[in-house]
Amino acid sequence: MTHKILIIARSAPYGSSLAREGLDYVLTSAAYDQDICLLFLGDGIFQLLKGQQPKQINLKSQIGAMEILPLYDIEDLFVVEEDLIERNIDTKDLGMKVVSIKRAEVSQLINSQHKVLSF
């Protein structure tokens, strides 16, 4: 049976490895044919910024690794409008196609899932 799983990505990339380890779980789950959707909450938004060049600090690109998501049919990438505004980021600064929702809509998204996990 395919489960609807929501992964909440709350960590900025590079300062902590949680962003990367969360993404590794997303890719594993997708490989096992689960129905994954991703919500970038708070600092998680920074994972999506265009033009990341982490070679400079000897780390692997987070956004680079995310480019594979559409190949796994993961196309529901949600971001929260208020988080973007708070961080002075426009959706055109993001390197992936996202769906922007309001904070008030997040609980609906959570409630519609079989399973939820946050990194």
């Binding site: 489960h3 799983i5 490895s17 949680l18 380890e21 590794d24 779980y25 594993t28 789950s29 096992y32 689960q34 399973k115 996990l117 946050s118």
Partner: protein, 129 residues
């Protein structure tokens, strides 16, 4: 109910490992089942049998081993997260030509598929970070 635990917390730098133990014990006391405990991120260090806390400190490695043996609990350590952090069993040590190892039964190394399996097949997966 079937519970699984995901532990991310570093065993001696954060409280999450101690909280998870108390939670697991409370589950079992109430007749619930622990389907799996999955160690990821910093928590992979819990699997190392080399840890040597002071006598008046909890030995998290030992406590998990005891709980696992008493109640037949599956203790799975994420292999990718563990290897880079220097936690490996005899066969990985051999494969990578390392002079020693620090993980053995009841802990075992496996992939993230085991976490997905735990999430799908448990009623609740509780994260301790």
């Amino acid at each position: 109910m079937k519970f699984s635990l995901l532990i991310l917390a570093s065993p001696y730098s954060q409280q999450g490992g101690l909280s998870a133990l108390k939670f697991a014990q409370a589950c079992l006391n109430q007749g619930h089942q622990i389907y799996r405990v999955f160690f990821y991120h910093e928590a992979v260090q819990t699997a190392s049998f080399l840890q040597t806390p002071q006598q008046d400190e909890s030995n998290l490695h030992q406590l998990w081993c005891e709980l696992a043996e008493q109640h037949k609990i599956d203790l799975v350590t994420c292999i990718a997260a563990a290897l880079k952090r220097g936690v490996l069993d005899k066969s990985e040590a051999k494969r990578y030509e390392k002079d020693g190892f620090n993980l053995q039964k009841p802990f075992e190394l496996s992939g993230l598929g085991q976490l997905l399996d735990a999430q799908i097949n448990s009623d609740q997966l509780i994260t301790f970070a």
